[in-house]
Symmetry: C2
Subunit: 437 residues, 2 copies
């Protein structure tokens, strides 16, 4: 069997589906290839939309991309809900970044200065002001940054809504795994699915998250420097053990962040009553095992920031894989192989960057040009460097002042498992609790 | 519909099934009433067989009962496996009780003296000797007691094997809940099931675990002083995250116990590679919610005792209900209501006491007399006291040197939920992790 489209999107996570939706809106014929569309790393992600709170030194271009995406999010979510008939869980709640000790406070103060120099809207609060906003905060909180424009969305709802919007927009979804990229005369012309179907397309978009570097058939020199970065995450319920609302008002009213023992911690309270607590950062290959240590450290750190979490039901523990790149920024647009276009490597920012990525790729697919905010993230920017290092681990260089440099991989010392080919979307082990009898 | 047996057992947990099996072996016609036979609190229990390690001052009679049961366990397990064709997970591995600091060491030394006065077989080891036996122990372990006769069994396998043995022995299993005890002329004559079936019997055995005090129709004065004591427990896997055996030998070779911050902690390593870590003790009514605090404290304490657990996969978190009594000992034999016989209230010792309970009840059901080791645990021993206090909480009196006195209920400060009627066996919320892709 064969099928031909203008655009074939390999990978139906939220990035792939959003690109497909936007491309179909521009009149292109689009096919998405994925065994479980809508169920990528977004199933695990907390859904923080926090470009300002998560700002890192040296990542101003990524900040601009993040802000561009964040600015569009309310409209994107509204349009998506209207197109799909489904909710996205978008919530304009703001984010509080709290400091637990004097060191944290000094670091947050520096970040605040940097944010102010960049003209970002951020307020400094003392400890008492933080606790007035969030009464469950630990008494030890010394101060914090209130970022009123950093919000949240529900990655699971987003995936379901994007899938429905794609189907309503005429996107064809082929539910299977990719077996091999098809290359004719040094040009990507599509992909063969595992069921043998030949899917041909004028342009093939590689949006396979952590597996984007693993697709068989990628010619030498066209590989993408993407590696999986494991994150473990918890889901609690902000109700009493009998399911009743907690007395005395909401448990948390906005996203909460802190750095505890050098590790980034965030708590994302949803309207539904779910409280997401994340996340570890682990270089473990394609392993998605939930470990005792990962769960322990998240609970320990969250307990230090918000002692009252001990009383909340623990509903789910899970692990997913972020598609990391050498500079933690995405790979967008043309690759070294004509006909093959990248929309991957979003690392910790996949949910945030979905709207801007979809718009940028739709531009590229229709005009051949990336918009200015996406141009710094060309998929070929590592080409020379990567080709000389292509047998290295792909880890960021140590002098890069990146997220990993802030949060070294100390959460687990388990041996790194070898990379194995698993080109599907099942990036999560999930742990669900049955309803209380 | 009606059905008549010599014996009706209300509750098909391991106690009820073992009583039914033994009674059927003595030639009695037996029916078990339970919606999910074999799936009571045994689904959650760690399966430690540790009467000597868990000895409490003032509980010598319970020690004798426990030792009587422990002594029979190897034969019981072998007979059960032969009768059912199924494994029980019985493992004669011994138990090490470790002291983490000088206070623990002093307390364990006192326990050792007490055990020696009672003539029990226990060896004192210094810290180095402990670590030679169990190399994963924390360097801070100061010493410990090796109890070579305290073993383990797998409560889940035990339940399945008992159910199969019952069915092979001709026990009828009616899969439904009990609606009401049937009383005629001041005598229990059976139970009406929720489907309307009238189950009549010469003798009705109440083996409904934590729900034993909740059966409708129990006349005033015949209620049993049983309350649920919640326990949260974890299951880890002693393999690498890829499922391979750990390098360098077994993670733990025997049961491990310690008192950490006043809470009893135990780690039970199974032949299958499962490592059970338990357990909280919480007075929360019939609540079986897994909480962030319960999981956190178990992981924290286990990490203090065996730091290497952080690398192990966390497979399951669950909570079950122990049927507690005012003195933490079981209720065995005749009750205040003729025709109604008790086999309940086993608190933390249900798995351990299954063989001796089954033998004692079979004796009583056939001869009308309890054997000497069971006589101190008459179900009527609280009668006067209980009838004067029957509207109280049923908690043990504070002067009792009981397990609760050692381990006060500090693990959770959540509000106590009201007792609700839930006369079924679903005493567990379970959390299962899918296989790693």
């Amino acid at each position: 069997m064969t099928a031909t489209s203008d655009v074939l999107v390999v990978g139906g996570g939220i990035i792939g589906l959003a690109v497909a939706w936007r491309a179909a809106q521009r009149g292109l014929g689009v096919t998405v290839l994925d065994p479980c569309p809508g169920r990528g790393a977004n199933q695990v992600a907390a859904g923080m939309l926090a470009p300002v709170t998560e700002l890192q030194y040296g990542e101003e271009a990524l900040l601009r991309l993040g802000i561009a995406s964040n600015t569009r999010y309310a409209d994107f979510a509204a349009e998506l809900s209207a197109a799909s008939g489904l909710p996205t869980g978008y919530r304009a709640c703001g984010t509080l970044a709290a400091a637990l000790d004097a060191d944290d406070r000094a670091e947050l103060r520096e970040l605040h200065d940097f944010q102010q120099r960049l003209g970002l809207e951020v307020s400094w609060l003392n400890g008492r002001e933080c606790r007035r906003l969030e009464p469950m905060l630990a008494p030890s909180v010394r101060g914090g940054l209130l970022v009123s424009g950093d919000h949240q969305v529900d990655g699971r709802l987003l995936g379901a809504a994007l899938l429905a919007a794609c189907e309503r927009a005429g996107v064809r979804v082929h539910r299977d795994r990719a077996a091999e990229l098809t290359v004719r005369q040094d040009r990507a012309v599509g992909v063969r699915a595992e069921d043998g179907t030949e899917l041909y397309a004028g342009q093939t978009v590689l949006a396979a998250g952590s597996w984007s570097g693993e697709l068989p058939g990628l010619p030498a020199g066209a590989e993408l420097p993407v590696r999986p970065v494991k994150g473990q995450i918890l889901r609690l319920r902000m109700t009493t053990t009998t399911g009743a609302p907690l007395p005395g008002g909401p448990f948390l009213s906005r996203n909460l962040r802190a750095v505890v023992r050098g590790c980034h911690l965030y708590l994302v309270p949803r309207e539904s009553g779910e409280l997401v607590v994340g996340a570890t950062m682990e270089e473990q290959g394609f392993d998605t095992t939930v470990t005792a240590g990962g769960v322990y450290e998240l609970l320990r750190d969250a307990h230090e920031l918000v002692p009252g979490i001990t009383e909340l039901p623990l509903i789910e523990t899970s692990a997913g894989l972020r598609p990391g790149t050498p500079d933690n920024a995405p790979l967008l647009g043309p690759t070294a192989l004509p006909g093959l276009v990248a929309a991957t490597g979003h690392h910790r920012n996949g949910v945030l960057l979905t709207p801007v990525t979809a718009d940028a790729l739709a531009d590229y697919l229709t005009t051949g040009v990336l918009p200015p905010e996406a141009a710094p993230f060309s998929a070929t920017r590592f080409l020379e460097k990567h080709s000389s290092e292509k047998h290295s681990s792909g880890k960021p260089s140590p002098d890069k002042h990146s997220a990993e440099a802030h949060a070294p991989d100390t959460r687990s010392a388990a041996p790194r498992t070898p990379l194995t080919l698993a080109p599907d979307r099942r990036s999560a082990d999930r742990t669900l609790t049955e309803a209380t009898p």
